[in-house]
Amino acid sequence: MDLLKSLGYAAIAFVIVITAWQVVIWLGDYPEALLPSPLAVFWGAVSIIQDGTLAEHVQISLFRFFAGYLSAVFAAVVLGLLLSQTKHIWRIVDPIVQVLRPVAPVAWSPFIVLWFGIGNMPAIVVIFIAAFFPVLLSTVSAVNKIDATYLKLAQNLELSKTSLLWKIIFPASFPYIASGLHIAVGTAWIFLVAGEMIGAQSGLGYLIVDARNALDLDLVLAGIFFIGLLGLLLDKSLGLLEKWIGKQWGAGTSS
């Protein structure tokens, strides 16, 4: 019932957007070539769905996304856990991370090509870079946020270092890490598309660039719509996962 309600609101939103869009076209007197009408975009969307172009590009984009994102998450969480255990090393790594993080992943492309060649790898590496730093930082900050009593408890019980890391620190910080993953999924997706717009020959970003090159703005808008929709789905799935983990691991407890 809640879902139905949400869908209802989404439907209202949809109608409002379409109407506003059409009104803008009428009032602004924009030619179809500059601002396609909702109907044109709809037929554009239908055409790329029917001829399979969309499915193909979506598949490629999602493959790149998961390959880059999952490997980044794995590397960043493990590294984050280990680094946060040794304060000195982290204080050395931190400034490096801080300077690398604000650099747009695409800025590295000449070097990505040098080491990773062409094809899918550059896009995957771009996603990797986009996801790696936020997850690393959120892992380290999650570990630092752990309630000190857990650590005191472990000391008191004389737990071994490995038990401490895998049975206390990792699960205790996981809810925060998960919320870091959630944030990173959005950024990574945006960068995938941006990355595909620059260098790739396939994927949703390329679909947009290609349509734009052919001056088919209706397909550009259709592409944007599907990018938004897929991004939303990715985000919601991770949100659900996060909630589920939160429940599983007793978030909202008084301790």
Partner: protein, 300 residues
């Protein structure tokens, strides 16, 4: 959008012309450089773009009054209802096919990636001619579209095995020993591979007919200076395209600015080709797009 860039401080009509940093836009550069001499009541403002598509966005939306642009792109835009006309060519020839030094024949390109500036370009048509001429299919190579300035880098990084593009990027690749020339455009479509056109928006032309006439007159005069090969001309080229001397000379060897008229048979060939390659559904007729009054008026 309002046509024209408004009036300059001195009351002259400002006309904004978009271009890419390529030798093919040289008449526009020369008009800009000599505008005190060649233009009276018009002020030319050049606006440089990095890629064709950004330029087209600005042209289509009326943010600029005209541009030196790929002929095929202008056709597509016109077919979509954008009201522009081509008033002259930008140049003739000057489109080499640059390949990696390892590549010796067209057959070697099979399965490799080739960069072109745009599917709607003479370079794409050229590539198709070359491939089919060598008994290959167009699908036998990977086509990669990228902004011209990016191509030498892409070739040196091994992202592409070959590129076909406007000058001076071909010459740059040769000068820097990144690649070599395999063929020249003249080998495939002698004198009728229309490449770059000078286009103007119809709203500008209608609003400022005198200014348009003056601009075009100046443009044609400027094109003569661009191609005269003098020391001074070389210097102007070098001012607008800061590439080293060798590359520039090489470029200018390949290119000519003599005859900028657009002839019907050349145009028809282009139309056929675009339809054949399924690049444009209903290309505009010759009369709808091409405006020869200025070129021919100059001849009269």
């Amino acid at each position: 959008a309002e046509p024209g860039g408004g009036e300059s401080e001195s009351g002259d009509q400002v006309i904004q012309i978009g271009h890419l940093p390529i030798t093919h836009a040289a008449p526009a550069y020369f008009l800009d450089h000599y505008q005190d001499e060649l233009l009276d009541d018009v002020e030319l403002e050049l606006i440089q773009f990095n890629s064709w598509i950004e330029l087209m966005d600005a042209l289509n939306t009326g943010r600029i009054d005209g541009a030196s642009v790929l002929f095929e792109l202008a056709m597509k835009a016109r077919s979509q209802g954008i009201e522009i006309e081509t008033t002259a060519l930008g140049h003739r020839e000057g489109n080499p096919i640059i390949v990696d030094p390892e590549v010796d024949s067209v057959e070697d390109l099979k399965g490799e990636t080739v960069a072109i500036p745009h599917t709607l370009s003479a370079h794409n048509l050229l590539l198709e001619e070359m491939l089919t001429g060598a008994g290959l299919d167009y699908e036998d190579v990977e086509i990669s579209e990228m902004p011209p300035p990016e191509m030498p880098a892409a070739l040196s990084e091994g992202r592409v095995a070959s590129y076909v593009v406007a000058e001076p990027f071909g010459a740059l690749g040769v000068e820097n020993e990144i690649g070599k020339v395999m063929h020249q455009s003249s080998e495939f479509c002698p004198d009728n591979c229309l490449c770059c056109a000078f286009v103007l928006r119809e709203d500008t032309m209608e609003a400022f007919p005198e200014a348009t006439d003056e601009l075009m007159e100046g443009y044609l005069k400027a094109s003569e200076r661009a191609g005269d090969g003098s020391e001074e001309s070389m210097q102007v080229h070098a001012d607008y395209l800061p590439v080293d001397e060798g590359a520039l000379e090489l470029s200018l060897d390949w290119i000519s600015y003599d005859d900028l008229d657009i002839r019907e048979d050349e145009y028809a060939y282009l139309r056929e080709k675009l339809v054949e390659m399924e690049l444009v559904d209903g290309p505009p007729s010759f009369d709808a797009l091409v405006n020869r009054t200025h070129v021919q008026g100059g001849d009269d």
